[in-house]
Symmetry: C2
Subunit: 151 residues, 2 copies
């Protein structure tokens, strides 16, 4: 079964994971995309504002995306996303964190310009095994509608 616009109604949608992020993954992502000392080097990280090695905030976003795809986007009629309305990095991603993604549907509406599609706005929360929230995001995603509007 493929999830369509109609399958996303306001309210809690589901929780996905856990997904573990290793020290090697944190350092590998940072070396390629965010080579700042607090993401690369334990000793430098100890003296940073975050008090120890932490993953790039963009790495956390990328892992969240993978959890969205594995969680439900891969079996949906998604057409992509125009962006992110708000993104907050609330606690650092640490080596070997086990992440869970909580998804809520905040609102949905049929597209004005393409009435065979609709936009679902999701609230996303990534938390670690201790329940600390690492990231919160609000993001619209476009889906095909199951029953196109009659012209």
């Amino acid at each position: 079964m493929t999830l369509s616009f109609e399958d996303f109604t306001p309210g809690p949608f589901g929780s996905f994971g856990p997904r573990r992020v290793s020290r090697a993954e944190i350092i590998g992502f940072a070396a390629e995309f965010d080579p700042q000392p607090m993401h690369l080097d334990d000793e430098a990280a100890r003296h940073s504002m975050l008090g120890g090695l932490s993953g790039s905030g963009w790495h956390l976003c990328a892992v969240m995306m993978r959890m969205l795809v594995d969680g439900f986007l891969s079996r949906s009629a998604t057409l992509g996303s125009p962006g992110v309305d708000e993104l907050r990095w609330m606690s650092p991603l640490r080596p070997d964190d086990e992440l869970t993604l909580d998804i809520e549907v905040l609102r949905s509406r049929v597209s004005n310009s393409r009435p065979d599609t609709g936009i679902v706005t999701f609230g996303c929360r990534v938390r670690n095994a201790s329940g600390q929230t690492l990231l919160e995001a609000v993001t619209p995603i476009i889906f095909k509608r199951r029953a196109p509007a009659a012209a």
Copy 2:
């Protein structure tokens, strides 16, 4: 010279790049973080809303971060960022795009809770060689102040 809070005053700050993103990089990032057909497979991508292979929006964000670090963050007294206020994916990232990052300082203010630091809000625009805007983002970044306030 290390850039401090005081070095960021409202107005255009600079342009950075170009940085080329290859087909292999697009597919490699997508395979790890955003395995959707339009980011992985030419034939599937041709039938997608974007009409051809395109990079993940999060890949574009990660490349932007690398351009920020190489452009000026690596020689600044940055302490990290609390998040992104707004992020828009406006045109698809295509294989072999040559990206330029335009940075503007939108506003800056001293932190209330940590008066030895300040928050600079940047407007970021990533464009390709034809001048198409691929991404726009507004993001606050925290920097140390050069001259801490007297208590």
